[in-house]
Symmetry: C2
Subunit: 443 residues, 2 copies
């Protein structure tokens, strides 16, 4: 199987050829950061590093890929030979996956000969961008669920196969309990969940028959009750329970349409009156964090939320203003001056300050500064090799995210916008360096 070495904008390759022919082989630093948080995000959660490092460590060009580039008639054979031997040999410093971060903070820095650092640009942006969007969205859904379980039902609506699969991983980092996507379950060892669809109910002679036969095959299943009429469906579950007696093991019913607040209360009351207090209620169907928040705020008796489309594509913020920018070349700070887009020159570090266990603010500083707080950027790849002690199990990443989120001011974890409650400042040294670099370039 060929690597994703060609997953790059064409200009990466044209610039590479130019760098090499012009002898521009010095070390560069590129910084990955989000310029501006989406309107409804108080923070984002860094995610996607493990997959990215794996891609970078294994980035190779095979013969077919080289031939394709050759066919474009814009690359010299010397350049194609160089690509054939390509290995990423640089260093990468990054925030741990699961770390919340804020505007303009570098979440990853690549320090490598400029051609190498340039080549991976498109891959870095795409991979970290996607998982960061999705884990950050999931955290909002999970917050809105107020302790109830959230399941990912999004595979069918995600933007492609890998969005669905690495997305399920990102949702888990953001606090989601399980996924319906079997491929993701296998790929990442995630818990998988799921039961029956309307098609099963419709294919049977009747809804009562469907419930009876499905629960014979899967005694501890969930029954979907809204195919024809939700309340009638609940009655059929209760009738089945009466018929089966002790043999009734069904764990839950699922509501997938209608007024979920009203229907969940009616269903709960009916189940309780029938002595089925242990049968849980799962709700799904067009749920987003606002709808879930409304349901949990009124304490609708829903135990589990199945969330699809809205989480799968992060529908209110499907892309990030994420950038991968040259900040240093040959030891000299670099930056763009054009309109309205700030980019901080040089290698950097992000320090998070804590008081009584709570994060109180961040300082973006120059690399090498030593502030009395936690440095968030850590070496994760050195000379092209992953740092073993920075390779975490997914369960560790999940736990880290949970802990780091719990340490944020609690208002940041609500659905309302409270960006101003968290200070991100630029250190004196960095802001001096930014000014000096700007002056040098404006001359």
């Amino acid at each position: 199987m060929s690597s994703n070495a060609l997953f790059a904008d064409l200009y990466e390759f044209t610039m590479l050829r130019a760098y090499l022919e012009l002898g521009m082989t010095e070390q560069a630093t590129f910084s990955l950061f989000v310029r501006r948080l989406p309107p409804k995000r108080n923070f984002l959660i860094a995610c996607g590093l493990a997959n990215l490092l794996n891609e970078i460590e294994n980035l190779r060009f095979d013969g077919e890929q080289i031939d394709y580039l050759g066919s474009l008639k814009i690359f010299s054979s010397a350049f194609l030979d160089w690509l054939q031997g390509f290995r990423f040999s640089g260093d990468i410093h990054a925030m741990r996956e699961g770390t919340p971060f804020f505007e303009n903070e570098p979440i990853l820095e690549v320090i490598a000969p400029i051609a190498e650092a340039q080549l991976i640009e498109t891959l870095v942006l795409n991979q970290i961008g996607l998982q960061t969007i999705l884990s950050s969205k999931a955290a909002r859904i999970v917050a809105a669920a107020r302790g109830r379980v959230v399941i990912d039902f999004g595979a069918r609506r995600a933007q492609g196969l890998d969005a669905a699969t690495i997305g399920a991983r990102a949702f888990f980092v953001g606090g989601v309990a399980s996924t319906s996507n079997v491929a993701a379950g296998k790929a990442y060892g995630l818990p998988v969940a799921g039961t029956m669809a309307h098609s099963f109910v419709e294919a049977c002679a009747s809804e009562a028959e469907a419930f009876r036969v499905f629960s014979e095959v899967f005694p501890e299943t969930t029954l979907l009750v809204d195919t024809y009429d939700t309340i009638e469906g609940v009655k059929k579950v209760i009738a089945l329970a009466r018929m089966r007696g002790e043999g009734f093991k069904v764990r839950a019913i699922r509501l997938d349409s209608g007024d979920l607040d009203k229907l969940s209360r009616e269903a709960r009351q009916m189940l309780d009156e029938a002595g089925l207090n242990d049968v849980q209620i799962i709700a799904s169907g067009g749920l987003d964090e606002a709808r879930i928040d409304a349901l949990t705020a009124r304490d609708a008796p829903i135990d589990i939320f199945g969330v699809g489309t809205d989480m799968a594509v992060s529908s209110d913020a499907p892309a990030l203003d994420i950038a991968y920018k040259l900040t240093e070349y040959a030891g000299v700070g670099r930056m763009k001056l054009s309109t309205g887009k700030r980019s901080l020159p040089g290698r950097k570090q992000v320090f998070r300050q804590f008081r009584d266990g709570f994060a109180t603010g961040d300082v973006i500083a120059r690399a090498g500064e030593n502030l009395p707080s936690i440095a968030l950027l850590r070496p994760v790849m050195l000379a092209g090799r992953r740092v073993a002690s920075e390779a975490f199990e997914l369960s560790q990443i999940h736990a880290h995210a949970e802990e780091a989120l719990a340490a944020l001011p609690s208002k940041l974890r609500t659905l309302q916008s409270h960006k101003s409650l968290y200070d991100v400042v630029i250190s004196r040294q960095l802001s001096d360096y930014e000014r000096l670099t700007r002056e040098r370039l404006s001359r």
Copy 2:
């Protein structure tokens, strides 16, 4: 390389086991349709069929996948044995890729033993959904460009690697000329485009130096002029042209920030006054169809638009209300009755009516009806094998889309909402059948 056979919601597998153990092996029909167009879409463009059929034809479970399913402890060994021998053996009827379609119209029907048709649900929704969203978004961008060239710059912002790569294909179907994504260029034979980034300019000693050396390596390149100050950048291009004289072959400049209307006019005038009338202007940076429409409506002198984020994720409509529903089982019509969601029972056909070469409206009918107009659903897979005469080259799909779009009422191709201008009606036979099915199920 293992197939995407596990790319399915867990409930597909639980239902499959139930179908098999219960002897439910009759033929089913599932219909794929979009319940409601996104607010700003007058139509959608069917896309993604070729990839989907390829996946379905090659769907196999390997030993590792079977072992994984076994590890979940919910599947019998008889069922796992059955999966091991799985081949899709059914028929698929679908609209040609590139065909515009409307609400509630089936764009694809799967006719197969119910287990087979059920298993592919998640894959069908994901794959057709993604490409349809993206080709439909691209058509809006292309319409707004009013004949100017559009290039896909979205790889870095797409939701994953396959979204970027099959997305580039979908954009091409929607009328986009080329892509910056090299992997997509190779995968689908798409024209690739791209030149230089700010990082190259910043890494050089000065902008003038960057332009000089880059155009030595690539004489016919595009120069990015907005790294420090756009107008100063244009002056440097002109100075380079003076210095090079006849040797100056630069084809274009690119503006990536600021007021593109104003800057393009100033740049055009400066270039023209310098005799550089052939140097084109490319604009990029946060463009969507509304911004492009505003620029072309005022006739800003921009020759080429590079469009990234907004097209890459279809930011105003990142997901579709797309459904894959059982409509017939064992020869009997099936449908859901629950709230507000219509699903038309039985096998169907969509007829498009034309007058003077223009499409005037569609009729959704029962399969087997014969209306004096063009039937849009065609057999594309029979007994698990693709129909060779329905396998089109991408260039043919592109041409078909162009022609089919040109045949729509012209107002539908503007950015404004004009859904009411196109009639989609349900045939008498189908509406009778819907009523009878509903009555039968409500009894």
